[in-house]
Symmetry: none
Subunit: 226 residues, 2 copies
């Protein structure tokens, strides 16, 4: 990684200007670019602690897993986001475990755990950066949890389809029911049943691995229902 | 509040020794004891932001509320705990709202929001204290959420332990957490965490390769919980 590239990245880091020159050197000497293939698992309770990740391109998905294998997505991280839970072993206030997967081909800047640990312990501004980022994710998790606990599933699915469609700028959503279930922390059967229901209502057309939104307005109306 | 009383309380605060004398004065001049009756609501989205609460006696319960009035308890705070979400308005990383009720007659030390805000902005160690406390609560919330989403693992484990104990006619279960996980189709981490939780509740004693059931009745009661 050349100096110019690094400069662009570190300007996003609130603690950069609070680092001593020695600390800046430590940072520079311990970052590397790492690529993860779509679907690859980066972090779980059984893996070693990676370090601080800064997402350059692609997307990471952070989720929890029930004992019977149900996934509940907590949040996603994309370009410019920092991932702290991949370094949770050095934050003693974090006592839970998450899984982190590459949702698409993803490139990150990785500051290894030893250097990140030294910086966090030696510089309160780095520690506060890590903590603030974690509190941001706490807010994301609360949002996800409220969606799961309190929103009826038709609304949640409508929101999901509209979000995906607007993200991809297309009425076609190329995801299987199983994938959607994983993103939504639900079960495939529940997703399939509700999509079938949407199809009967003339809101979507279903084909293998593809959901085509026919009536976007009807989908939006659904969000306003009590 | 006399100086002696205050001294006892502030020794629990990690930032106290990092305050300047001016900041210590600001703190002292802006704290007061406040009493809340059992059932009283201290904080909600509609209330003004109170400030930093330090629980002296009693218990606070922090929960979220669905539109249809369902309550989901996130965590409880008791003697010696600090409550930060009652000052969430000054923490820009917190974007969700909670309710805080006194679960029993409760006395707190309240540092008003204006003073807490000044200290948090002016002193990185006070900010660090607030952030760490919030991340602790994030961990509590994750625990609560896993209990809610992945229901009844506690019941399943209670059933397993009772079955094993009656099969062997002994309160001692000579199995590793890994073995139990395999028998239950779960993961070792999940079993270990729940057993640790049972131990904290005084239901079992754990030692290497051995689980001793201390309170069988409590284990049976668990099966009847909703």
């Amino acid at each position: 990684m050349n100096d110019e590239e690094l400069k662009n990245i570190v300007t996003d880091l609130s603690f950069w200007d609070k680092l001593s020159s020695r600390e800046k050197e430590l940072f520079k000497n311990n970052v590397q670019k790492v690529k993860y293939a779509k679907g690859e698992n980066l972090h779980s309770a059984d893996n070693e602690c990676l370090g601080l990740l800064l997402v350059l391109t692609g997307e990471l998905r952070v989720y929890i897993l029930s004992e019977d294998g149900r996934e509940v997505t907590l949040y996603r991280l994309s370009d410019g986001d920092a991932c702290i839970l991949s370094a949770s072993c050095i934050l003693h206030n974090i006592t839970f475990d998450v899984f982190i997967d590459a949702q698409s081909d993803t490139e990150v800047l990785l500051l290894n755990i030893s250097a990140f640990s030294q910086l966090t312990q030696g510089n309160v501004y780095v520690e506060n950066f890590a903590l603030k980022n974690t509190v941001d994710r706490f807010s994301d998790v609360m949002w996800a949890i409220e969606q799961i606990l309190f929103t009826s599933f038709d609304k949640r699915l409508a929101t999901f389809l509209l979000d995906e469609s607007s993200k991809n700028k297309s009425p076609d959503i190329k995801l299987t029911h199983d994938q959607i279930a994983k993103y939504m922390g639900s079960a495939r059967e529940v997703v399939s049943r509700m999509l079938k229901n949407f199809e009967t209502l003339g809101i979507v057309n279903l084909s293998r691995g593809l959901i085509h939104i026919v009536d976007k307005d009807e989908l939006k109306k659904m969000l306003k229902k009590l």
